[in-house]
């Protein structure tokens, strides 16, 4: 076999290899559609209060109030990618008084962005009343959470004389993200 023929064969094989290799039946443009949709379950606030934590409110009722900053609400992943949030509040009331819980999401300028009002029925030490309440903040409302930086909780005790007992709150949030 002449050298020329040999080299021609090599060239042919190379060309065959290069041109027969291809990427088929795939659509790389689908990369545009990749969305990460993690769902996070995270504790929120909790407390147990007794009558000593209440102060006289307007009229005959007593109120207890506290608030906390939630700086993570200002983070990029919340601002850009949070699409839904479910907040779950579980109250256990042993006061022999009905209560009203008012939960506000508040902006850095102290403007209330979203309010959740949860009536808690009267309970007793022997027979606590429990409330399991979930507030779903959907895609249309999510900016209210994005604009917030604080959460305040105000408890109104409608029977100020019912001083025995306590109110316990446990809470969590489900956060639904779409990272593109």
């Amino acid at each position: 076999m002449s050298l020329k023929k040999t080299l021609s064969k090599i060239a042919f094989l190379t060309i065959l290899l290069v041109f027969s290799s291809c990427v088929k039946d795939v659509d790389l443009d689908q990369a545009e559609d990749i969305v990460l949709t993690p769902e996070a379950a995270i504790d929120l606030v909790y407390f147990t209060i007794t009558s000593e934590d209440f102060a006289p409110g307007p009229g005959v009722v007593e109120t207890a109030r506290d608030e906390t900053r939630l700086d993570f609400l200002d983070d990029d992943y919340i601002q850009n990618s949070l699409v839904q949030a479910d907040f779950n509040f579980r109250f256990t009331n042993t006061f022999e008084s009905p209560l009203t819980a008012t939960i506000n999401f508040v902006s850095p300028g102290n403007a209330v962005q979203h309010t959740i009002i949860i009536p808690v029925p009267q309970g007793s030490i022997g027979s606590p009343a429990t409330v399991d309440f979930t507030e779903i903040i959907n895609e249309n409302q999510i900016n209210r959470v994005r604009r917030s930086i604080k959460v305040s909780v105000e408890i109104t005790r409608h029977e100020p004389l019912a001083i025995a007992g306590s109110l316990q709150l446990e809470s969590k949030g489900f956060y639904y993200f779409e990272f593109e």
């Binding site: 990427v23 039946d25 990749i34 379950a41 909790y46 506290d66």
Partner: protein, 466 residues
């Protein structure tokens, strides 16, 4: 941004072989590159001179778990569903590798005692990324549907190296039945990233006895990413021109960066004329990473139930919570030197020669025995990776058509597939040699379905004393 990172991850992952296995070049005594795989190999020429930058171009990538088709197939379905499916199919021991080598300079010659000396420089990039199963599930799905599950940070492990290798070696003709050889190497590091032996878990569990609904744990966390040759690039990327950047990289590549030492050793033994046994161990070596080191560590223990309101408290609950977190989970950037070990490789083979080549032999070469046109053999390859050895087994048929044309066909089974067919063709035009080797040929009709692929091509001058 997140989408781009994920796309690149998938692309790397879906392209990525026992990437450093060069089964086609091993035992191929017509090419000097066989000496890089076994410094004790017998060679069928007396001098070589590689065309600078072109004597060996090697590229290999592999994925042990998924391929590009698994993710990007055009079937009208959802790519996100396919990613989710792959996420659960892959295990923490699946990995993706990328290996590239470029011979910059290569020379060799035989002395009057039949010893063959070699010297050269090659550039190499080598990376292995284990699939970070738990962190990936956490990032893709979150913890909501995985209450009570431990997300284990030890799943994350990777190493990446870019370096130049300066080498000098010799093959000693001990007798007509035995050759052995050694090669000394100086590694000149351009870049290294190393993160293995990470530990720690993240867990969210229901907390019926606790003060809130869940309790979140970060336990025994110790995640360490070591880098060398990265910090100064990061610091200077906005301030220097491309030429200065190039000059910086070239300086590191030519012994101005981090340095290491290594050794290759190998032998060829003929128990009889027709049987040949070879073995080699490559890159027994280390690199001392002491320049431009930046190591990132995140460690500690923490658990939380959320924020307790005290009616009224300090109202600095968030700051107190963050301070507590920072006291318990710390991040540090360190600049302490570290040592990395090169991925040691092991080759072993046995083959059988038939169809005797009765042409006159060259007495400068160690061939005082019968030679054959055909060889049928089996080769074993192993490489040490952070989580143990990866193996490949090859059977091959090597045929010399004439003095100018020789070919080799291989079948390899490894971590990536059991259907890897490879082909090598090497030819000479006077003293000019060209070779081309590629494996996974069955997948060349659609590389998207390949678990791995590798290719080697090279040009060089080779001389024989007749």
């Amino acid at each position: 941004m997140m989408r781009i990172i994920f796309f690149l991850l998938i692309l790397t992952l879906s392209m990525a072989a026992t990437a450093q296995n060069k089964q086609l070049l091993y035992n191929f005594d017509d090419l000097p590159q066989t000496l890089l795989l076994n410094p004790g190999a017998e060679t069928n020429f007396d001098m070589h001179f590689g065309v600078p930058f072109f004597s060996q171009i090697h590229l290999s990538a592999g994925s042990s778990g998924v391929n590009m088709f698994d993710i990007f197939k055009d079937d009208g379905g959802s790519i996100n569903d396919r990613i989710k499916e792959s996420l659960h199919k892959l295990s923490r021991n699946d990995f993706f590798t990328l290996n590239q080598q470029l011979e910059i300079f290569s020379i060799g010659w035989r002395d009057n005692k039949k010893r063959y000396y070699t010297a050269g420089v090659y550039q190499e990039m080598d990376a292995i990324v284990y699939f970070p199963k738990d962190p990936a599930v956490l990032a893709f799905e979150g913890n909501k549907d995985h209450i009570g599950k431990n997300f284990d940070f030890s799943d994350a492990a990777f190493t990446a190296d870019v370096l130049n290798v300066f080498h000098i070696g010799f093959t000693n003709y001990y007798s007509k039945d035995l050759n052995y050889g050694f090669r000394g190497k100086i590694y000149s590091g351009v870049f290294n990233a190393h993160s293995v032996d990470n530990q720690g878990i993240f867990r969210t569990e229901l907390s019926p006895e606790g003060p809130n609904l869940y309790r979140h744990y970060m336990s025994n966390v110790d995640v360490l990413i070591k880098t060398a040759g990265w910090a100064d690039l990061q610091d200077s990327k906005d301030d220097i021109s491309n030429r200065e950047l190039m000059s910086n990289l070239v300086k590191k590549a030519f012994l101005g960066g981090n340095i290491g030492l290594g050794l290759d050793a190998g032998f060829t033994w003929y128990p009889s004329d027709q049987y040949r046994v070879t073995g080699s161990i490559l890159d027994i070596g280390f690199m001392r990473q002491s320049k431009n080191v930046e190591n990132y560590r995140y460690y500690g223990d923490y658990q939380t139930d959320g924020i307790e309101l005290l009616f009224p408290g300090t109202r600095e609950y968030w700051d107190e919570w963050e301070d507590d977190l920072d006291r318990n989970l710390k991040d540090e950037t360190l600049t302490n030197s570290y040592t990395t070990w090169r991925p040691v490789k092991l080759n072993a083979s046995i083959d059988y020669g038939f169809s005797e080549n009765a042409e006159p032999c060259n007495c400068y070469r160690p061939m005082g025995r019968r030679r054959y046109f055909n060889h049928l053999g089996a080769q074993f390859f192993a490489i040490k990776r952070p989580r143990g050895l990866n193996y490949a087994t090859t059977i091959y048929y090597d045929k010399t058509f004439n003095e100018n044309l020789r070919g080799k066909i291989t079948y390899t089974a490894d971590s990536f597939s059991f259907s890897n067919i490879g082909l090598l063709v090497s030819t000479r035009l006077s003293n000019f040699n060209v070779y081309l080797a590629a494996d996974n040929l069955l997948d060349y009709t659609n590389l998207a379905k390949a678990q791995n692929a590798s290719i080697q091509i090279g040009f060089q001058l080779m001389f024989s004393r007749e």
